[in-house]
């Protein structure tokens, strides 16, 4: 375990030669940092009274501005991004903008005369995390200096004992969010370990991190589940002493894979901006173990609630996470009970997305839902208003989606934008007039039946013209390079349409003379000719395009036995 400093000492903690951060390969000591903090404090003290808002992609600069603000007696509002809409919302709080905002009042501490530094008050309102509230409007979550200090000193007690005091903290998450702030800034400050200023974006950077000293990786599932197999992690594995993941559950497969490649069991932290860290585990199949100082319980509604010294008061805090407790006090998470989605660890308010879409002036009604496929993503089911209909007719579906996505990108990070869009005449409703999530979800399922373009009833047969669109579910994965309509789908369709046209007995009894001569490709139309002979209980089908027959055969039915 490393030497522990108190945040109350602010930038006075640690000797001048103690390493603080690596900025583009260059070591910054606590001595240099102290001077920068004193200059930053002078710049911030010159501002009219009030809080400041900070956005920067450089964790060292964040560490200077934060301490500078605290020594200047200012609270720091931390938004998760600097999109125009977020910037406007932060500005509306009457705070000074510092760092990488369009129109920032202060961008650098320059060579300001250093302010004399004095110890800080533990009650100092240190930061306010500015995040998606469940109502859709961002909320301000205040944290006192003591809350931040206590939490990371407790975590050092749990995790720090096995980590070298000189290990460098490298990260793939931003310090603008609470998890990054705690693990990239506060933990290094209280434990005396250095941190990397630059945020990693690619696995290659991890594999080739300069130097040979010990490392700790602070990461998230978005990064850890996408580590390419081609990247050689041998050197990293030899140096890395711990991997932390937070922001959402790490898929078991990703966790095992990382362990196989590096020998390291990822330590997952479960928490939120409101509560800080709640629990941890180092195996993806294990229940969550409460962190020291955190008392957890279940509400009568099955929601997780907690009490801890890292919360503003001693009352139970009820989360929106549904849970189940084990006999030993550990718990399993069963998903959220509100309309906040976690997309790649970003908290996205579905209500806020819907409100923004309606404000576009093109949308009458909308439901945004979470779709879980290869990737968790959002789908928007939209009923356009007259202006929207006009725009769809004039510029087309793709252009309309582009307009809507760009509009949302004003206030929401791109990762959180809907990737699936459905424009419908009306949202599906139950007989009670309620739009259920399940019904909306069905709009995003790939169709299993082709659209019937024309029906021609002849004397002894019925001829259907079918649209073989590429979005049919059957084309998915049925020959990746060259999709063809599977034979089994052709049989299903024949039976499906046969049943809608003829009164056929319920049970399938067999097939006869079935031939697949020419493949059916996506795109275009085919005709399906169906004949039913009541005396033989036999359905004949044939798929063709013009003179060319794709397939044909007979299917025999009978009574169920």
């Amino acid at each position: 375990m490393a030497e522990c400093f108190s945040l109350v000492s602010g930038a006075l903690a640690g000797t001048d030669i103690l390493p603080l951060a690596y900025v583009r390969g260059e070591l910054i000591t606590r001595g240099q940092w102290r001077l920068d903090v004193a200059r930053a404090a002078t710049r911030l003290s010159a501002l009219p009274a009030g809080d400041i808002a900070l956005y920067t992609t450089d964790c060292y600069r964040a560490c200077v501005w934060l301490l500078g603000a605290w020594h200047a007696g200012r609270c720091v509002v931390l938004p998760g991004d600097n999109t125009p809409q977020t910037t406007a919302r932060v500005e509306a709080l009457s705070v000074a903008l510092v760092g990488e905002f369009a129109g920032a009042q202060i961008t650098d501490w320059g060579d300001a005369v250093p302010q004399t530094l004095a110890p800080l008050s533990p009650d100092l309102r240190a930061v306010e995390v500015f995040t998606s509230g469940s109502t859709g409007e961002p909320g301000r979550i205040p944290k006192s200096l003591a809350q931040l200090d206590d939490e990371m000193r407790a975590q050092e007690g749990v995790f720090g004992t096995q980590i070298d005091p000189q290990a460098c903290i490298v990260a793939t998450v931003s310090q603008q969010h609470l998890y990054g702030l705690l693990f990239r800034v506060i933990w290094p400050l209280v434990s005396g370990r250095p941190f990397a200023a630059h945020m990693l974006s690619f696995a290659e950077e991890l594999a080739q991190w300069p130097g040979t000293g010990p490392l700790v990786l602070v990461s998230s599932p978005a990064f850890l589940k996408r580590l390419p197999d081609q990247v050689d992690l041998t050197a990293f594995a030899a140096r890395c002493q711990a991997v932390f993941s937070s922001g959402g559950p790490l898929p078991a497969e990703a966790s095992h894979h990382l362990r196989d490649r590096t020998g390291i069991a990822t330590r997952e932290i479960f928490g939120s901006s409101e509560t800080g860290g709640i629990a941890w585990r180092n195996h993806p199949d294990h229940p969550w173990q409460p962190l020291p100082g955190v008392e957890v319980a279940q509400t009568p509604d099955g929601l997780l609630q907690l009490r801890s010294a890292y919360l503003p008061d001693a009352a139970w805090y009820v989360t929106a996470d549904r849970t189940r407790f084990e006999a030993d006090g550990r718990f399993v998470l069963l998903g959220r009970a509100d309309r906040i989605a976690k997309i790649e660890e970003k908290r996205i308010s579905l209500t806020a997305l819907e409100t923004a879409l309606v404000k576009s002036g093109l949308v009458k009604e909308v439901r945004v839902i979470v779709l879980e496929g290869a990737r968790v993503e959002l789908g928007a089911a939209i009923v356009l208003n007259d202006a929207g209909q006009t725009q769809l007719a004039q510029s087309g579906r793709k252009a309309l989606i582009h307009v809507l996505r760009e509009l949302l990108a004003q206030g929401i990070e791109r990762v959180g934008l809907p990737r699936r869009w459905r424009f419908v005449d009306a949202l599906p409703q139950t007989s009670m007039g309620k739009t259920t999530e399940l019904d909306v979800r069905m709009l995003f399922e790939k169709p299993r039946w082709p659209q019937v373009l024309a029906t021609q009833v002849l004397e002894d047969a019925t001829v259907l013209t079918l649209a073989i669109t590429p979005d049919l579910a059957h084309f998915e994965g049925h020959f990746k390079e060259a999709a063809v309509l599977p034979g089994v789908a052709q049989l299903h369709w024949a039976v499906h349409f046969g049943r809608s046209l003829f009164a056929m007995p319920p049970a399938f009894k067999g097939m006869d003379a079935v031939k697949f001569q020419h493949v059916i490709l996506p795109g275009g139309e085919v005709t399906l000719t169906l004949r039913y002979r009541t005396d033989k209980q036999q359905l004949s089908f044939s798929y063709s395009t013009g003179e060319r027959t794709h397939s044909s055969g007979r299917i025999v039915f009978g009574e169920a036995t």
Partner: protein, 86 residues
């Protein structure tokens, strides 16, 4: 057109599961991220994995350099063409 450019366009659409796109919709010289095709940071990671798998590539540790390779389909094709091992 360079067949590699066409191939990479298909790889982008398939690996990122872009519902609305056809290869013709992707301008080979337009930015892939934000302003052009509108891909996000997760798309960048997934596309990186798909490219490494298909072409046996490795990217440099220098993230600025990697970002330049991901600037457009043309830039990617040039990088893949000179660095592929399969």
């Amino acid at each position: 057109m360079d067949p590699l450019i066409a191939e990479i366009k298909v790889l982008i659409i398939e690996s990122l599961n872009l519902e609305e796109m056809t290869p013709d919709d992707i301008d080979a010289d337009a930015p892939l991220f934000v302003d052009g095709l509108g891909l996000d940071s997760i798309d960048a990671l997934e596309l990186g994995v798909a490219l490494q798998k298909k072409y046996g590539l490795s990217f440099a540790a220098d993230s600025e350099e990697t970002r330049r390779h991901f600037a457009s389909v043309s830039a990617l094709a040039a990088f893949v063409g000179s660095h592929r091992t399969k």
